[in-house]
């Protein structure tokens, strides 16, 4: 089982993802440079957090035009599991692999803290080891996480249960106060209709081992290993 971790100029969570795949899960892992088109036979692709291309123009706007994204789009189209974390999620939105867009946080500040999430869909390859409705604590660190989409798209996401994670409080209540950035419907992560492409603003990669004081994110990586083993 092989993970490809895409590296854009400005990615800064690539090594975390690589470390999880290789050292914690015992899988193969390869970095794929943004100029490369070869995904090196990967079974799963991770777009990591960071500031790809300096987030110039808009977060993710320039990264979507890098050569590697053509290969990622093809991989996704063929059903390959793709996970975009934070900046990686922003790249997936700009690339149109997931619908909607993110705006500057409603508080106009970079938000860097632990938040709570409700697992709304355990039916994706990245969430199947979570219980539906499970409450997990994960860190966020972003300036543009204020998710929005046209009303008909938001309705479609809800109707098709494509909201994967929603911000909530420690008891699972989705409230305005528990929403760190103003995202519509408290949306923290979504999936494509097929379920193989998932993006989220929080950082499962920053809570995947005991050393970091939280292992709630590790199941996202373990989930995809299980999903691929079943397939």
């Amino acid at each position: 089982m092989k993970f490809a971790v895409v590296v854009f100029p400005g990615s800064n969570c690539d090594q975390d993802c690589y470390h999880i795949a290789r050292n914690l899960l015992g899988c193969e892992a390869e970095y794929v440079w943004h100029h490369d088109r070869d995904l090196k036979g990967a079974d799963v692709v991770i777009l990591p957090g960071g500031f790809a291309y300096g987030d110039y123009l808009r977060a993710g706007a320039l990264a979507r035009f890098s050569p590697v994204m053509e290969s990622v789009a093809r991989f996704a189209e063929q059903g390959g599991p793709v996970l975009g974390i934070c900046n990686g999620f922003q790249v997936l939105l700009e690339a149109g692999l997931l619908p909607g867009a993110v705006r500057v946080n409603r508080g106009l500040r970079y938000v860097c803290r632990d938040i709570y999430l409700k697992v709304e869909s355990a039916e994706t390859p990245f969430t199947l080891l979570y219980e539906p409705g499970e409450i997990v604590k994960m860190p966020v660190g972003h300036m543009e996480g204020n998710y929005t989409a046209p009303p008909e798209i938001l309705a479609e996401l809800e109707r098709e249960r494509r909201v994967v994670f929603r911000y909530c409080d420690a008891d699972g209540r989705v409230t305005d106060a528990s929403n760190p950035n103003g995202a519509e419907h408290g949306i923290a992560g979504i999936r494509n209709p097929e379920g193989n492409v998932v993006g989220l603003m929080p950082h499962p990669d920053r809570c995947s081992e005991d050393l970091l004081g939280n292992t709630a994110g590790r199941k996202m990586f373990e989930s995809v290993v299980s999903a691929l083993a079943i397939r």
Binding site: R58, A101, R103, N105, R106, T148, A149, P150
Partner: protein, 81 residues
């Protein structure tokens, strides 16, 4: 040709920056300020001297890259040769 492309939050899309600027202007005593939307302007210089072609190309640039049309609108103006 010189072309200006203005990109701005669509009407009705929450613009946290514009709202913060409006609040700051209010605190400075500009009591008449009702609303502010904050956008960007791109000053683009193009080869050639066909104004229509320049405008068409600038529109394509806006659609492809300069604006995220999910949340942003844009307009294009040819401003000089």
């Amino acid at each position: 040709m010189k072309v200006e492309v203005r990109v701005y939050p669509k009407e009705g899309v929450l613009d946290p920056q514009g709202r913060a600027i409006a609040a700051a202007l209010g605190r400075l005593g500009h009591a008449a300020v009702r609303d502010v939307r904050a956008g960007k302007v791109f000053f683009v210089e193009l080869e050639g001297n066909d104004a229509t072609a320049a405008e068409t190309e600038a529109r394509r640039m806006a659609e492809e890259l300069l604006a995220n049309t999910v949340i942003e609108g844009y307009d294009v103006k040819v401003v000089g040769a």
